[in-house]
Subunit: 244 residues, 2 copies
């Protein structure tokens, strides 16, 4: 007599910052049938409150596990997100690579996801990078993701032994409005996410950094209500704020 065992869903490692994009990515990974293991990095970012948001998002979207690894990238400096001496720009998205770029951050985060995936026996990594309504970061481009996937298959025991590792970047070609529409359809509660580069300890957003601007414009273009508690309203956004 044979017994049919239910097959276990495949595992995926999902990089989760706690922002809008990574929350949507997690919802999409789950919707594709993956058992999701979420990884966040406490790298000395100014907006550490996003890590609390990541924990809420992982729980709300049914992740099997959520880990926060510590890695003091702030010791290297070189970014407005890790060095308090470099102000976060608030005058609107400019051409070129902004000072909020954190050197090699996505390479480091994908490398850590790769390590965990290998231990979990997972062949799938999800990352919420986006090359449309984004901030001009080099490590958010499709060619970067493709190069990392090539590397992953050469770097690991799994790859060498013939398992194909895939780096999924399901948002890469979507506008911010489309990302929000997808997430809403999958039940993402954006009120628990934090995108702002300089959110206060309560998770309130400045309203005027690049990340707030892209988020706000995304909700507006999607024709959906924006649940974000902005400290500066759109009407006031030409004024400089006094942030804590």
């Amino acid at each position: 007599m044979s017994t049919l065992l239910p097959s276990r869903p495949p595992r995926a490692v999902v990089l989760l910052s706690g922002g809008l994009d990574s929350a949507t990515t997690l919802a999409m990974a789950r919707d594709s049938g993956f058992d999701c293991y979420c990884l966040s990095l406490d790298y000395g970012q100014r907006h550490r409150v996003e890590l609390d948001a990541a924990a809420r998002v992982a729980k709300a979207l049914g992740a099997s596990e959520h880990r926060v690894l510590r890695m003091a990238l702030g010791e290297f400096g070189g970014s407005a997100l890790t060095d308090n001496a470099i102000p976060v720009p608030v005058d609107g998205v400019q051409p070129g690579i902004p000072v909020t770029y954190v050197p090699a951050r996505n390479t480091i985060m994908l490398s850590l996801a790769l390590a965990w995936a290998e231990v979990l026996g997972s062949r799938d990594i999800f990352v919420g990078v986006n090359a449309v309504d984004y901030s001009g970061y080099p490590d958010c481009r499709p060619e970067f993701i493709a190069a990392f996937e090539t590397l992953a298959n050469l770097a690991t025991k799994a790859g060498v032994e013939g398992a194909k590792l895939t780096i999924h970047a399901p948002l890469i070609d979507l506008s911010k409005a489309d990302i929000i529409r997808h997430g809403r359809a999958l039940g993402v509660d954006y009120a628990v996410t934090v995108s702002c580069y300089q959110a206060d300890e309560h998770g309130r957003a400045c309203g005027i950094c690049d990340s707030c601007r892209l988020r706000r414009e995304g909700f507006s273009a999607a024709g959906l209500g924006d649940p974000t508690p902005y400290l500066i309203s759109p009407q006031e956004s030409t004024r400089r704020p006094e942030l804590p």
Copy 2:
């Protein structure tokens, strides 16, 4: 009147584990005219004493700076080097990828070196991987290094802005004996290095793990005296040791 300023030597980031290979790599980088910034990773390795060795090596070989970053890869487990429940093999180098392989370790270390290089304005990263007398790790192969170099140039602001980043792996085609001969010629004192996967807190080597075997055979093939304090002598190496 014009003043001729002496040109500063270019900076390089050198990954330094504290073992024989990375010490030789540092000596070669310095010999090539680079101003060397050494990076070690405290990742929860069994043989943490190698980090003390790294500090001694960096000092002895005139590095401008030596940083040790902490990153708890041990939390992922999956390797005899980070999980005390998995014994280090001592029965000789076997075909295939051994349990001392740490998932994605070289990818992670190169990613961190890339971040620091970008902040330092360095275009050169040195890593002591070797594909001849090595332990069968996938991330020690030339195709892995080439893929990481491609990635590095896509991942970073420097790469996008036209600077060519180079990953130097000067040992990749050398035998262990040739590595030792090169290092000796450049003044490396191998007595301060630690290769053993389970060295004790005094830096004494077991003598029978894969790393000890490769090191010992390298000195023998090079016809040079081996300064390593092995706990088990070559004659005894079929016997199992009682390690602390």
